[in-house]
Amino acid sequence: MSVRRLAKTQPDSFAFSKDSEAKVAFWMNKYPEERKASAVIPLLWIAQKQDGWVSEPAMREIAARCAMPYIRVYEVATFYTMFNLEPVGEHLIQVCGTTPCWLRGADGLKAVCEKRIGKKGRGNISADGKFSWEEVECLGACSNAPMVQISNQDGDFYYEDLTPEALEAMLDDLAAGKTVEHGPVTRRHASEPVKAKVPVLEDAALFDGSAAKAAPLPHSARPASKAKPASKARPKAADAKPAAKAKPAAKTPAAKKPAAKKPAVKKKDD
């Protein structure tokens, strides 16, 4: 993070577009008249979504709407680093460089950005005006590392499980004006396991108590001898299990049934 300054060149004026006005009205409605200033952050965000950045005339316009002194809006806009105080590319790419992403290859993504777009920095717009990029701290998608966030007119979306090649292809598509589907590029569902199936929840032993092991508590006052009854109990359970298993194989589906039911019951509880 560094000192944030307003851009050297500023537009002469700012006006909310018709769409923005509707959003502004929505947010202004939320607050009573004497608490209008509460809408300052939503309004700054709306202005940024409209123009891609927050210009100085926009701050003045927002100050007037929120009945605040200019300096108060200026304070807010400079405090929050998500407000762009200078023009950015049509697509602002924020590459996560924090440990999990870094371990999973964020450096490769950064190299692609540097090659494709140019120098790191929100205000360093690529020659075609389409992109600018910066490195950010953890965006909280570590299970899909490495990832980037791309902010543009459509919104702010995560693009996850990236490889340098995938990112490059994505940039090509964006440059060509195509839409790129957000989420993991591998098209896995959210952060589900990469392997097709992990039979964790389908293991009946998890639900009938058979997998339970008595563990001695670390600071338990019971001496080791007392653990004996526990070990005695275990064979009992072990006895029961083979007994169940000894019964005709036809019973196995029956044993599975309660396991299959359980999640269903749970859902109802939810």
């Binding site: 993070m1 000192v3 200019y70 300096i71 108060r72 304070e75 400079t78 405090f79």
Partner: protein
Amino acid sequence: MTENTRTIIIDGDEVTVPQDYNLLQAAEAAGREIPRFCYHERLSVAGNCRMCLVELVGAPKPVASCAFLVRDMRGGPNGEPPAMRTLSPLVKKAREGVMEFLLINHPLDCPICDQGGECDLQDQSLMYGRAGSRYAENKRAVEEKYMGPLIKTIMTRCIQCTRCVRFATEVAGVPELGAIGRGEDMEITTYLEQSMTSELSGNVIDLCPVGALTSRPYAFNARPWELNKTETIDVMDAQGANIRVDSRSGAVLRIMPRIHDEVNEEWISDKTRFVWDGLGRQRLDRPYARKDGRLTPIGWDEALDIAAKKLSGEAARIGAIAGDLNDVEGLKAAKDLFDALGVASIDARQDGARIGARDGSSPRQSYLFNSTIAGIDQADAILIVGANPRLEAPVLNARIRQRWLNSDCQIGVIGEAGDLTYPYEHLGAGADVLAGLPKKRSGFIKTLKDAQRPMIIVGMGALARPDGAQVLRAAGELAKVVGAVSANWNGFNVLHTAASRVGALDLGFLPGEGGRDTHAILDGAGKGEVDTVVLLGADEIDMERLGKAFVIYVGHHGDAGAQRADLILPSAAYTEKNGLYVNTEGRAQLALRAVFPKGEAKEDWAIFRALSARLNKTLPYDDLNALRAALIEENPVFGQIDHAPGAEGVADFDPSTLGEAGEVSDAPLRSPVTNFYMTNAVARASKTMAECSAMALAATRMQAAE
């Protein structure tokens, strides 16, 4: 222990303090010193410097004493009173830690810093800091910010206490300062580095605990320990702010406020603070006489001879007008001389205000700020008539703003609708609105009637006009109707703009029987009916109207009066003489000499004493003490130093009999102060004030263009 107080233990000593004290105040009441940077008695509590940490017994960690109330303290488990420690090892360590963090990014440039020697950070790091530094890394550097011609910034030194931000927002009422960025990159600035548009901006220099905001005109001029400090009184407006004049070898180098809770708290206006460079420019340091159309230096002997010759003429053809900066002693000597000569045409109201009378027909309350300045803190409705307190008495205006901030006090204005830093109801522009107000049933009149302690403030803009006496009557009638004058409250107030005015009115420096007032003297001079006009520092009259009269100017600055003068008798400015000034409340205050008068200039009273000897009317006093004794004998109010009468004698005061009955015109009421920075000869001689004035004018023009 009453309901509002609580007994607590501070370092083992039991003290009983009010519940709403914070721990810092409680510790001070117990005689402990708590270091602090961000906390200030007259500003809101921010609690961000952490220097005032104390140990609260039972609390898991040190607490910021400025932000913790005595009321919220918890007693011991067995019913012991709550306890705090300010001298414990934990507190010492906490202070050392905070100080070390503050110094991480503070430059070690004390030898070249103007705050050096009077710097809170310097003092406190000596008292509460560690001996050495463990920080070897680079310090941060911050770009300078522009804040106007008065405030010099070295923002690298800033420790982000935000006192200046809070002052600008709360007291000055111009929310232009702010803290941008965050964390290590936090910086104090004005919006886009515009200069501050407040008349009180200089106070941030005093508030700044470090050398980040310092005085630009005073930059690198002197060290605090080299200066002679004189506690005196300001004359830039009629509030009579208490000031300290710092001088070195005959030159005034700066002016700072003194704390006086009933007058200026601890603020002064920019004009008061920065006018000092005007005291060294355009000075009249020797007598001059006009010879062949040019002012030529002459000796005192010759000058007094010329003056005596002119004043020994027919008394009816002589007039005298006193200006705004005169001390009472000088006016007394002048008045005694004119009385002895039989000159009745003397007037201290150079603006023609229709207040006061020599025959005692107008009571003192008719021209005083009777509620007193401290009384503003109790007012619950204020009507301002024909005044712009922001320009006429900025510190008083800040007090009104404080009242508005802290209570439901309603404010109405008749006259110009300017920015007063607080919202108000604009009732109209003309005096007819005031006259019609008592007959109304709803609106602001109801607010005034419902108020327990209503205030009506009448400015010179309402009184210094042809129908001033009628406006005074209208205001008095309104005061009566709304019950502004009651057993222990006098809500009828006159806000003066001239520091010398109330003293002159108390003295009776007014036309005697058959005498002319200011306008009549000027008219007479224009028509040739008045041959000789003595101007006692009167520069704000229209010199064109003096016609062919012989003008004797007794004053200290080469301003309008001196330019027109045929004879100049140089006198002392307010920092150069011991004198009495009576402020708008009627509070007599003693000003002390900081430096000697320039060149051959003499104190005003001494000039008239010398002149009286030439005229064979020798005044019966040879020194200032004898003069003061005579003064106090004549009017005891001059002996009651620092006493504001307030509601005294309110039982005999009927505001509805003030002034004269009659129609008031509907011409808009205009404040006499249009250019705050240029109201008197000293200010007009000041370069700093000229710069401020140019900036203010440019800002007004920009606004007009928009």
